[in-house]
């Protein structure tokens, strides 16, 4: 696409752009963790924020491969396209990928349809994450949360301290001054680190666009089989989805603004099939990003509660 801006500001080599500053900050944070942690890991959720995190990690440690593995806590209900993309990326980048599934949850047959989003997320995601961290002894885990996502995250630290029970204690977080991060902890305690805390949704998309970062094709519009359920368009991604009476999957041009478990992720009708069109649509759209996520709607302040319980 030709960039023919009429009023492009002059490029000043002595001023970093906002994205350059954000990128440098994220890289700085990742390097601090690698220097101070004993056994760090990067949580990889396959979404666009994870894609940016992975890209930043490749930059931070270049020419070395990032000196930590990727961890995907798999609820077993992700879109098929996500699994495919995940495996391709790990192979392409030469990084170790650990996939952890809460086998207790699987044995109990936990799924979003019969147990609802709250229980499903709690057992498969929150519990699964704790299991994985304990199993591998990870002391620092990178996550892709951003402060602009939700009110309760506006105050989240970049280094978020968790007790040995993985609990987030809002009263016991450390002051963060300048770019000096305190990564010290006792045995058993852990830290969640959010290198892209200061990025906004637009920053993420713009960076993906400028850096040509690969993302899951589900972000782009395509004809997909969907049913409308409780006002949300749900994609019928495999035959595990029980259809209600009268529900017939219809092919519609849809895409996803956020990605998660397919039964919990609402699609939006859209014809945006390129990055620029996605960004254009996002800028002109009238609803905020997390509206598509079913878990936020369960109860008021639900994110706050989930965080205290150990959800990212």
């Amino acid at each position: 696409m030709a960039h023919t801006a009429a009023n492009t500001p002059d490029i000043d080599p002595d001023t970093l752009t906002h994205l350059q500053r954000l990128e440098a900050e994220s890289i700085h944070i990742m390097r601090e963790v690698v220097a101070e942690a004993e056994n760090p890991v990067m949580l990889y959720s396959i979404g666009k924020d994870s894609a940016v995190m992975l890209h930043l990690a490749m930059k931070a440690f270049y020419p070395a491969v990032p000196p930590f593995p990727l961890l995907h806590v798999d609820t077993t209900w992700k879109f098929r396209a996500m699994y495919q993309f995940r495996d391709e990326m790990a192979k392409k980048l030469g990084m170790d990928l650990i996939v952890h599934i809460n086998e207790d949850g699987v044995a109990k047959g936990i799924n979003p349809f019969t147990h609802g989003s709250a229980i499903h997320t709690d057992i498969m995601k929150t519990e699964g994450l704790k299991q994985a961290l304990d199993k591998y002894g990870f002391d620092v885990a990178f996550g892709g949360a951003r402060r602009d996502e939700e009110k309760s995250r506006a105050k989240e630290r970049i280094f978020s301290f968790r007790t040995a029970q993985h609990r987030w204690d809002p009263k016991n977080q450390r002051p963060e001054l300048w770019n000096l991060y305190n990564a010290r902890k006792h045995k058993g305690e852990s830290i969640r680190v959010f290198p892209i805390s200061n990025w906004t949704e637009l920053d993420i998309w713009q960076y993906i666009y400028l850096q040509n970062i690969p993302i899951v094709p589900l972000y782009f519009s395509a004809p997909r089989p969907v049913v409308e359920r409780d006002g949300t368009l749900i994609m019928v991604d495999d035959d595990r989805m029980p259809l209600r009476a009268g529900e017939v999957p219809q092919m519609r041009n849809v895409r996803f603004r956020t990605l998660g478990c397919y039964p919990l992720t609402g699609a939006v009708e859209s014809n945006a099939s390129s990055l620029t069109e996605i960004i254009q649509e996002m800028l002109l759209t009238k609803t905020s990003e997390r509206q598509g996520r079913v878990i936020d709607h369960d109860s008021a302040g639900s994110m706050e509660k989930k965080k205290q319980e150990g959800y990212f």
């Binding site: 752009t17 906002h18 690698v34 070395a64 000096l180 706050e304």
Partner: protein
């Protein structure tokens, strides 16, 4: 997002190109809910069109339900209220908020303004390029305004916007605005805050936020958003500094590559530049600046890079790579400013971990020189520091580190203290300068120092700095005090206009620049005399706070005694011992203090005395008493 420009719809490529080059401005808002801080931030979010329709709908609904604006949009609801935070049991804290306009992206650090949240404000300010200090137009400059300004200056923020809010409640009065601005400037000068812009506004009504106010045609300055979008970002200043790269991590993917990864804290670097590794002092040359996007021909402060050097130099995390000819200082003893951030008090003598840039060492506070009352800036003696208290301290480290004074390079001069047992971050501070002691004691050390010279004279050297209007009685009092001191066997010297203007400063006239230089020389001479062990008395009008502050800064703590001879102008003009007031009134003398040139009265003078209702002897008695009370006339 509702109503964005048509550019997005018509030419998204052009829009993205434009936004690609946006710069970033980080700022902090200081003020309390009562000043309209939440309303201001909410208004900025609203005006920058950063709200989605679902958020707007929620705002409209909430405004009707719980708003305080009678059903009108209550912007304060967009940011968490303190009450809600308390209910949720969350520590009242720093919240970061984001918005952007066509020209810039902004990150706002939003912190509560009360004294018990000093810690949070310092935290929020540490990453800010600029501070907005809110003042309620109805109340003017308050104690908390002073506290916020002090903290802002402490953390080294150069640019301040004084947001004079709620102008709608004072009838949009220009006189009110001007009075508040004058008050503020007078105070800010003491703090060395110079880049001040004061904007009269109503965050609630939207006056002077993005569009010039129709109600305040008398104001011709920028709107708040206009200023935030165009003010030069502080980052540029960091490029002027000496090159510093604190090494974060040594990158050794294979035997052929050894790179030193870090974020450039200051200055600019190019391949071929000679560098010095500190604290070891070894030198080499930059071979490559490696990034995943290819080697760079030049890198600047703020960039995260990996340096490859020409020589095999032993470098590890915590070392600082500096320009060879402009290296950082290396020391293990410092004077520093410390902000205490935990409930358990700080005790001198205890060992803590200190992290500065990428190095962590063990540190002990050996002495609290004084703590600072954050409301009055008064210096107070202290044996320990409580939560949110700020002090000037001496620090001793277990090994030497490379550093810069915080004023020069934030990243290599700022530090945090960590509790060795709990691992909590318990304090933060700024390294001011190295104390040359310990391993340096054999180098360039003067064995006969000020204390020794003072002790020989049986006194503690100091400056008694008399300031006041012409005819207030400065010279008379100084002269009498010197006589008394001399009679007690003290070694003194009186500097006044006559003995200085006729010699040292006979090349100086009475222009403003010359007056400033006159005081500067007097202060420097006084400093030398104090160093020689004398009690120095100076008697100059010294009308400007900035100069008196400069003189004070030259002396050690406790050495500078400002004596404000506070005789009202009605009395001094009546006395008019040299007939100068009459001449000034006739216009024969220009820039006469008190007539057509201001006298900036001291706000925190150690001693204040009014000579209008007492005899000279009574005044001298009183002064001697006050000096004895302060202990300045006793030998240690």
């Amino acid at each position: 997002m509702a109503h964005v420009s048509d550019l997005i719809a018509q030419d998204i490529g052009a829009y993205l190109k434009q936004h690609e080059h946006k710069s970033l401005l980080r700022f902090i808002t200081c003020g309390s809910v009562d000043d309209g801080k939440s309303t201001l931030i909410g208004r900025l979010l609203y005006e920058s069109k950063m709200l989605f329709e679902d958020q707007l709908a929620a705002l409209e609904a909430d405004s009707k339900k719980v708003g305080t604006q009678g059903g009108d949009l209550d912007f304060a609801l967009l940011v968490d209220g303190l009450a809600a935070e308390r209910e949720q049991g969350i520590t009242i804290d720093v919240a970061y908020r984001f918005f952007s306009t066509d020209r810039r992206k902004f990150i706002v650090a939003d912190t509560p303004g009360h004294e018990q949240y000093t810690r949070n404000m310092v935290t929020g300010a540490s990453t800010a390029d600029l501070a907005i200090i809110l003042v309620d137009a109805r109340h003017g400059v308050q104690t908390q305004t002073r506290r916020h300004s002090y903290l802002v200056s402490l953390i080294g923020i150069k640019r301040v916007v004084v947001a004079i809010n709620k102008m709608d409640l004072v009838g949009h009065s220009e006189a009110t605005y001007q009075r508040i601005l004058d008050d503020y400037r007078a105070f800010a000068a003491q703090l060395g805050l110079e880049d001040i812009v004061a904007i009269p506004m109503s965050a609630l009504r939207g006056d002077n936020i993005t569009a010039p106010s129709e109600q305040m045609g008398w104001y011709h300055g920028p709107t708040l958003m206009g200023y935030l979008e165009t003010v030069e970002v502080d980052q540029k200043r960091r490029l002027q500094g000496p090159f510093r790269l604190p090494v974060q991590w040594v990158n050794r993917p294979n035997l052929d590559f050894r790179g030193f990864a870090g974020t450039i804290a200051s200055g600019v670097i190019e391949p071929g530049a000679p560098v010095r590794v500190q604290p070891s002092g070894r030198t080499s040359t930059v071979k490559r600046i490696v990034t995943a996007d290819g080697d760079l021909p030049r890198a600047i402060a703020g960039q995260s890079v990996t340096l490859v050097l020409e020589d095999e130099v032993d470098i590890s995390r915590g070392d600082v790579i500096s320009h060879k000819d402009a290296p950082a200082e290396v020391a293990d003893q410092f004077e520093a400013t410390l902000v205490w951030m935990q409930d358990e008090p700080m005790m001198p003598g205890r060992a803590y971990l200190l992290k500065t840039a990428t190095r962590t060492v063990t540190a002990t506070v050996t002495e609290i020189r004084h703590k600072v009352n954050v409301n009055t800036l008064e210096h107070l003696a202290a044996k320990q520091l409580a939560l949110n208290e700020i002090a000037q301290v001496k620090l001793s480290l277990d090994r030497p580190i490379a550093f810069d004074p915080y004023e020069s390079v934030r990243e290599t001069g700022g530090f945090i203290l960590i509790d060795r047992l709990s691992n909590a971050t318990i304090g933060a501070g700024m390294l001011r300068f190295a104390l040359r002691r310990s391993h340096n004691i054999h180098m360039q050390h003067v064995d006969v120092d000020k204390a020794a010279r003072g002790a020989m004279k049986g006194q503690k050297p100091c400056v008694l700095w008399f300031t006041g209007l012409s005819g207030a009685g400065k010279s008379t009092l100084a002269n009498q005090i010197e006589k008394r001191l001399s009679a007690q066997g003290r070694h003194t010297y009186l500097l006044d206009g006559d003995n200085v203007r006729h010699g040292l400063n006979k090349d100086l006239g009475f222009t403003e620049a010359d007056r400033v230089e006159n005081i500067r020389r007097v202060a420097e001479v006084a400093k030398l005399m104090v160093d020689a062990g004398l009690i120095v008395l100076t008697a100059f009008i010294s009308p400007f706070r900035a100069e008196r502050r400069m003189a004070r800064s030259l002396m050690e703590d406790g050495e500078f005694i400002e004596i404000f001879v506070d005789t009202p102008i009605a009395v001094t003009e009546e006395r008019d011992p040299k007939g100068l007031y009459k001449k000034a009134r006739r216009g024969e003398i220009k820039n006469f203090t008190g007539i057509d040139s201001p006298y900036e009265a001291p706000e925190n003078a150690e001693i204040r005395i009014d000579t209008s209702d007492r005899s000279i002897d009574q005044c001298v008695d009183e002064l001697m008493l006050r000096l004895r009370e302060r202990g300045v006339l006793l030998a240690d």
